[in-house]
Symmetry: C2
Subunit: 299 residues, 2 copies
């Protein structure tokens, strides 16, 4: 099963694009599974499926189109890739960068949570598009991976800065005269620093604000939002499920890039349903690296 | 001459889309004037011009294309209209609403500083486009004018609220299920309240943030900016001078609407260059109503 930052929002009682989790009921989330018993010829025993009933050891489905269950091809790669690089995570990066961000070849791109599941794909698609890519991450290991494996141009550890993110961005974009596209997974001080360094007519893709999700009181927004006017910026939020029309195009591109070795992919796998809460909490304190998964059944 | 909120930004030493005013030199700004002496056949004595050398009683120009001087037709209306409804002010409203905001017929629109020079035109263009229009203004007189003269659907005095702007918007958009387009002239608490009431896929046009211009320290941005993600909002800043390509289309539309009596226009005129600072300050404490002008020469 996949654990994802958006699930935090479902733990708060409020109106949003998905209803909150309910007390006393199992949580939900994307998962891949193997058919153990079947009365449906479409899903023979032993075949693999993608589903939306994570956070439990097994589930029963009639396989109808509304059930959220679809078959996956285990020959395409490890089945858990359908939760990540081949799944919603990869599509989020793809849609955010290309459709919402309207990325152009050779631009300067800043990505926060750059070694995370979405961020790492964003970084590498931007590199494929010949961009200059700057990433922030929360440990020295992650920074090293971003440079050596993901191949981005500049990375920094935001948890151990001598001064602040803005100062780091001055160094990072020194030769580039600013950032064309900021892909925001973090919000807070990252968004504020990015605003300071955006080029005129830059775009800010609002994908997530993980720094805010556990806040118990309202936290101030960027004090420099006025720069959106003087720099004529566009800030745009999106949710991947509005963009499933790009799925075929995405699958064609991403499988090509993965096969060509142009996209590296990191996973942190926790073992057993009993460790799912731990896996989820790891998303927020940065103990994860790349995509966070929980292995429930035998692999 | 015209006094406009953007001039406040030029009184701060910082990099922006126009350079700061310089100490010891006359300020600059849009003005209309009459030719008193001429050695240029293109500009005979007695003709009227639009210029960029406000904040002084007269000026000398060679009339070349780089001089910022162009002839205006006094038969089109009062010459000061070229500083307002027929000029940059009107074009700002037009570009912001139609190009940046992509306004559609029948939408729900919220405008802050709604009785101001830009805001009042925004309100009335939105009404022409059959929209439901909500406006905020800073006095009872302005609220009355918005309803009875500008013909908008709901207006409130943000300086005398029983609770807060968000509560007022609940009442205003009650039957509309939210705001499709917020035209922001104010920033601060108006922007934060608007975010709470935007519809999914709504657009926020960032035109000005007059509540922030006199701030002597950084003021927090909207604490609910995260809603831009869950509601898939687009926030976009703009500067009118990037959009002069719309000038002909704007002139055709605006002169038609004004001739048909569909757009009412308010002016606050201060007399004499010595009162120009007072006129400018009035922009920020809300003593103005509609477009703020200073009459320098004899009319």
């Amino acid at each position: 099963m996949s654990v994802d930052p958006y699930m935090r929002g479902r733990m708060t009682e409020r109106k949003s694009y998905v209803p909150p989790f309910e007390l006393g009921k199992a949580l939900e989330g994307a998962c891949v599974g193997k058919i153990l018993e079947s009365k449906n010829n479409q899903f023979p025993v032993g075949s693999y499926v993608l589903g939306i009933s994570g956070w439990r050891e097994y589930w029963v489905s009639d396989g109808s189109s509304g059930s959220g269950v679809s078959k996956i091809d285990p020959n395409m790669g490890p089945i858990q890739h359908f939760l990540g690089i081949f799944g919603m995570t990869g599509l989020t990066a793809y849609v955010g960068l290309l459709r919402i961000g309207q990325l152009k070849e050779g631009e300067t791109v800043f990505v926060s949570a750059a070694s995370g599941a979405v961020g790492s794909v964003v970084c590498q698609i931007a590199k494929i598009k010949s961009c200059y890519v700057i990433g922030s991450a929360g440990s020295e290991d992650k920074v090293k991976w971003l440079i050596s494996d993901a191949g981005i141009d500049y990375a920094f550890n935001y948890k151990e800065l001598k001064s602040d993110i803005s100062t780091e961005l001055v160094k990072a974009e020194y030769s580039k005269n600013g950032i064309d596209l900021y892909f925001d997974n973090v919000g807070g001080d990252h968004l504020e620093a990015a605003l300071n360094h955006m080029k005129t007519f830059g775009r800010i893709v609002l994908c997530g604000m993980i720094s805010q999700y556990n806040a118990t009181s309202l936290t101030p927004g960027p004090s420099n939002i006025f720069l959106a006017i003087t720099k004529r910026l566009r800030l745009q939020g999106f949710i991947v499920r509005d963009h499933y029309d790009m799925l075929n195009q995405f699958h064609a591109d991403i499988s090509k890039w993965v096969n060509e070795g142009k996209i590296k992919w990191k996973e942190t796998i926790f073992e057993g349903l009993e460790n799912a809460p731990k896996a989820f909490i790891a998303l927020f304190n940065g103990e994860n690296f790349g995509k966070t998964l929980v292995r429930i059944g035998p692999s």
